[in-house]
């Protein structure tokens, strides 16, 4: 596996600077969690890594190389929208494979990897629940034999009771395959659970980045402290302002 590096990346939409001079490294075989609120630019940053949005300035490098088509794969937020409703799940997964792969065998292997019955390869997405669809999306991302996987809010569209299964799967796969991963979420608790390192994004900038334990235990930036304070906890009560 390899390293994903954002080198001074900026993205501008009209007058709006969505990503502002971001430099961030996802070390080989590690999970970097990216937290931030809606509009902070984290999804735009992810889109630049997979080439969906061109960077206005800066470079995105995989192992130091700029040409990284297919080497970075992505899992999207909404599994109800990220699978073509008219294509079988096996078809969607096979489409992502490099040429010359034994598609049928590989589809079966990947479905098994994400704990789905390989016999369902011909099923259409409408036959699957949200959690199952998200697993198919994960299998599709892996089908391209990526060096790096980006997970963009992959649990936020799921029911609370099925989120856990997807998070467990992400962690197992990452460890088993030694994936490098950028895990994006607005939920600090979810990010904390899967990440080795945590980066905090606000208004298009990374305001803090470091090992997960350090960022959570001794946050340096005031915004990180604010996020931590605002994150709901079980044993603290919120008093009237």
């Amino acid at each position: 596996m390899s390293e994903l590096r954002f080198d001074a990346v900026s993205v501008r939409y009209g007058h709006h600077l969505a990503v502002d001079d971001v430099s961030l490294t996802v070390p080989s075989g590690q999970v970097v969690g990216l937290v931030g609120e809606s509009g902070s630019g984290k999804s735009t940053l992810a889109a630049t890594a997979v080439g969906l949005v061109p960077a206005t300035a800066g470079r995105v490098l995989v192992d130091g190389a700029e040409n990284h088509l297919r080497k970075v794969q992505m899992v999207f937020q909404d599994p109800y929208s990220s699978l073509d409703p008219r294509m079988s799940i096996g078809g969607s997964i096979a489409e992502a494979m490099p040429r010359g792969t034994d598609r049928r065998a590989e589809v079966a292997r990947l479905l098994e990897l994400v704990n789905l019955d390989p016999g369902r390869a011909t099923a259409l997405p409408s036959r699957l629940s949200g959690g199952q669809r998200q697993r198919v999306a994960l299998a599709r991302a892996l089908a391209g034999r990526p060096e790096v996987v980006i997970a963009d809010e992959i649990t936020s569209a799921l029911d609370v009771s099925v989120q856990g299964a997807v998070l467990n799967l992400v962690r197992d796969l990452q460890r088993q395959l030694g994936l490098s991963m950028l895990f994006i979420s607005h939920n600090l608790a979810v990010v904390r659970y899967v990440s080795d390192r945590i980066a905090v994004m606000k208004s298009g900038r990374i305001v803090e980045e470091g090992p997960a334990e350090r960022v959570l235990a001794a946050p340096e930036h005031p915004y990180t402290r604010e996020l931590l304070a605002a994150a709901p906890r079980r044993h603290t009560r919120l008093e009237a302002s």
Partner: protein, 324 residues
């Protein structure tokens, strides 16, 4: 939905006006150019076509020269444009009178017909649509809904000129209640206006109902109900203004189609307007006349669209913001 569009009050008007003006002018330019090119796209020599094969070559050549058809294309285009600014639309090949005079003569009858028909459409369709929406809300009164929907589909599917023929056959020929043709008596307005209005009224009534029902399903209507406002206020103050946006957008297109529909209806009723003139001109291959009338019809449609957009911007402040 993450970053709310934050704008200072009034700050969106100028860009909106600029954008809309650019669109109007571009469309107008395309229209003028298309009208200009129309004569040149016709296969063969339009003058020869128009005057007939028996016309002596000298006459054809003279007419060509008089029309400026011997000049290079850009020069002709320039003359056409400058002529337009002076209000000149060329000369009829058949009658030899200026096309502008012809149009000035015929336009009022068409405009009156279209405006009157549109008023009838709005006056009938909006109340009926609102009433049907209120009555059939939440899947109530399935029978009434079915009757309304099927009637409107059938009425909308009958083209206006057939409606005109039917009306003439029934009311003018069989019953003798209204004149068959012309626009001399007050009674002679009834059938043409009906023929033009019935179809669009059916469509608009349906649109109003569908839009209002869609709006009634919105969260802010629930908020209004949660405030325990009387039903009258919920419908008139909260639902209707939000249904106007879509209704008006589509109503504008409907009005455009209605303007074009006058062509057919005028021919049925021998109405002395632009519509009967353009058909005669096409048959007689009087190209300058056709060109001028197409231009007037097109400009009319563009103007309708512009007015609709401006009214929309006044009613709904969000419509001045273009979605990204």
């Amino acid at each position: 939905m993450t970053t709310a569009v934050r704008v200072r009050g009034g700050g969106t008007w100028l860009p909106f006006a600029r954008r809309r003006a650019v669109r109007f002018l571009t469309s107008l330019w395309v229209l003028v150019t298309a009208a200009f090119l129309m004569i040149h796209l016709i296969p063969g020599d339009p003058v020869r076509e128009s005057l007939g094969l028996s016309a002596p070559p000298e006459v054809v050549a003279a007419r060509r020269a008089a029309l400026g058809l011997e000049d290079p294309l850009p020069v002709q285009y320039w003359h056409y444009l400058t002529g337009l600014f002076r209000g000149e639309l060329g000369t009829s090949l058949i009658s030899g009178t200026p096309v502008a005079d012809l149009i000035g003569d015929r336009l009022p009858a068409t405009a009156q017909l279209a405006v009157l028909a549109f008023l009838v459409v709005v006056v009938v369709a909006v109340p009926v649509g609102v009433l049907m929406a209120v009555l059939t809300k939440g899947g109530r009164r399935r029978g009434a809904e079915l009757a309304f929907t099927s009637t409107s589909v059938v009425l909308a599917a009958i083209p206006e000129f057939l409606l005109a023929v039917g009306l003439v056959g029934l009311f003018a020929v069989q019953l003798g209640a209204f004149p068959v043709a012309g626009n001399d008596a007050a009674g002679s307005w009834v059938l043409p206006v009906l023929a033009l209005a019935i179809g669009p009224a059916a469509v608009l009534g349906r649109i109003v109902r569908v839009e209002l029902l869609a709006v009634l399903g919105n969260d802010f209507v629930r908020t209004a109900r949660a405030k325990r406002l009387p039903a009258r206020l919920v419908y008139l103050r909260h639902a209707l203004p939000n249904a106007v946006t879509a209704t008006l957008t589509l109503g504008g297109m409907l009005l455009g189609a209605l303007v074009a529909g006058t062509v057919l209806v005028e021919n049925v009723f021998a109405w002395p307007g632009l519509g009967s003139t353009i058909v005669g001109s096409i048959q007689q291959k009087d190209y300058p006349a056709v060109q001028g009338i197409v231009l007037v019809y097109g400009a009319g449609v563009l103007l309708v669209n512009l007015v609709v957009d401006v009214v929309l911007a006044l009613l709904d402040p969000r419509s001045t913001i273009r979605e990204a």
